[in-house]
Symmetry: C2
Subunit: 404 residues, 2 copies
Amino acid sequence: MSIIVKKFGGTSVGDVDRIKRVARRIKLTYQEGHQVVVVVSARSGVTNELIERAKAIQKSPADREMDVLMTCGEQETIALLCMALDSLGVPAVSRTGWQAGIVTEGLHGKARIREVSGGDIRKQLRSGKVVVVAGFQGINDQGDLTTFGRGGSDLSAIAMAGALRAKNCQIFTDVEGVFTADPRIVPGACKIDAINYEEMLELASSGSKVMQTRAVEFAQKHNIPFEVRSTFSKKSGTTVKKKVKSLEDTLVSGVAIDKNQVRISITELPDRPGAAAAIFKVMSDAGVVVDMIVQNVARKGKANLTFTVPSEDAFRAEKALKEHFADGAGGKLGRSTNIAKISVVGVGMRSHSGVASTFFDALANSGINMLMISTSEIKISVAVNPDQGDDATRVAHQAFGLGK
Amino acid sequence: MSIIVKKFGGTSVGDVDRIKRVARRIKLTYQEGHQVVVVVSARSGVTNELIERAKAIQKSPADREMDVLMTCGEQETIALLCMALDSLGVPAVSRTGWQAGIVTEGLHGKARIREVSGGDIRKQLRSGKVVVVAGFQGINDQGDLTTFGRGGSDLSAIAMAGALRAKNCQIFTDVEGVFTADPRIVPGACKIDAINYEEMLELASSGSKVMQTRAVEFAQKHNIPFEVRSTFSKKSGTTVKKKVKSLEDTLVSGVAIDKNQVRISITELPDRPGAAAAIFKVMSDAGVVVDMIVQNVARKGKANLTFTVPSEDAFRAEKALKEHFADGAGGKLGRSTNIAKISVVGVGMRSHSGVASTFFDALANSGINMLMISTSEIKISVAVNPDQGDDATRVAHQAFGLGK
């Protein structure tokens, strides 16, 4: 019999009725004769409630105790879902992260999975039970409860699928899969049937928020294929795997937009080795992830440096830079502006030229000015004015013939 | 350094402010140089919320999964209390039941403690940390989470104190200790400074609801002295231990009242061996605990049998009896009536006669009619009409000179 891992997030198990609905859905798979492992998150809202209560007691609580607190969320869900399954006549048993043998290392609140033994899950499956596992959590070598940070339940599901050599790992979410573009922006966007890990990663990191990149990276590293599909529909979703045959012919798989970026400009940077490096050291020390970077050629011994950071980090970035320049480092902080980043992604680019020119031509023909450009092996991103972001997405989607 | 175990119930840690208050209280003991282990319950209300959510999914959920659900309650409290201690500069670390090495056997929902290793608690204490342990929960040999049923956190605290050879085990509650009678009924009632396990057990089982009997029985079996005292006052409470010196001179330690009993009468019971036994088999099969029992001498081959059961079990008891008689067993179910049970308790009774006559005389002189009488080695109980219960308590309290 084949093992299927199904992951349901906080919205899918948000209240008693939704938990019952998820149980009915699991029952169908169980009745088809599969061995089913379900990974669940905390009910939506629960995690925030717990955090609020903690903050009311201590401004920055110790990470270890935050993890003890946070893990209650999924523990509640696994018990409730088992009850819902049981009431449908589906025998089920729950496993917390530690009971499922999910061993972690690294910091509390952002632990990394080192090993997944699965505990006695195989035995439970063989005895005809559905096993419901708490996502987002594990245990470290000291016997402390740990959590994985945002998107952690996706990671649990993928790691569990890998450990159990599952035939299928289904990540249920509120969209039907990965689309060629955000359907709210591009009405003609299509669901992508299959995509490879790299493309999924580039799309995710470019603003297509179907999944956190961390879980995808883990799947890529250990080659664990998975499917992203909708909790609220029976349609098949998007399969993410190592090699996708038909992709060889596809130049571009999708267009992503990220409106959540701020462009920071630095002028009068001394044109000497290490000046730019010092800037990025400052950003790194402040915990700010820098995305697109453009530096022009120096004139009269001074250069301009421009880069983008996530909006939520912009204030912290500027503060750190001001201190840097106040300490006598050469350079001047310019005005920061919001930008939209449009990315076209596709493994086909590797062996085909012309993607950039098609993209840039299309934008130019629509009167959209490019503020910055950055490229990776399978991605080309441009920054545009925020009010032109949606237009740019539609234009690119059209230019690469991605529509229905 | 001496170890002190402190147990705080759900009301004491009911919200963020109360958790902070408990933390301040613990800090005082910590600053006196003691090693402190704290055992806590779920915040009051949380357990009921979780039960409600479970019942909304399944009428009678599997006990195993109920335990997974229930244990979340204390897990939340241990994390929050550690944060509160930390914010006061008191280093603290939490331990769930299984992390504290509380190993259980028996049924889910009413597991029994088999062993308490304490895990690494001693090491944590030596390193200067307060250890906060989740009450009410443990782990069984299969690695499943288990809970102890009502009053379970008291049991955790006492077992932990025994395992750690604590100098002191303090059960914090909303009363100042054990009183010679309920002060709401007898205004002159005094707090008892010290009492032995047996008396505490008899008082508890006679309606003095300071603690569940289970924890007291465990303390008696393993000879673990403890103190019942108030969360909201600095006064010392009531020490419960094996031998209490001054008690040798005390005939009666306290008077308890239980208004929560229903008297069930059976008439025309055949006067043959086994007829009464069959009745109690029926009660036992229905899960009803029978308390006082009176059977009169048979007349014309028929006897009357009267006994009391807790009010909440009365309906179930009558239903089972009706079925028993409908099945052809001899006997007839009479009308059930509420009664109040007044008990005088004291180890001094063992070696002194006259307690019963003093008690009965006092009631007679006050015109209170006794409906039933039952006795144990250190207790005499009488059933009276419910509207005379408070009077009977005051009369007994006065008769044995227990007032201030």
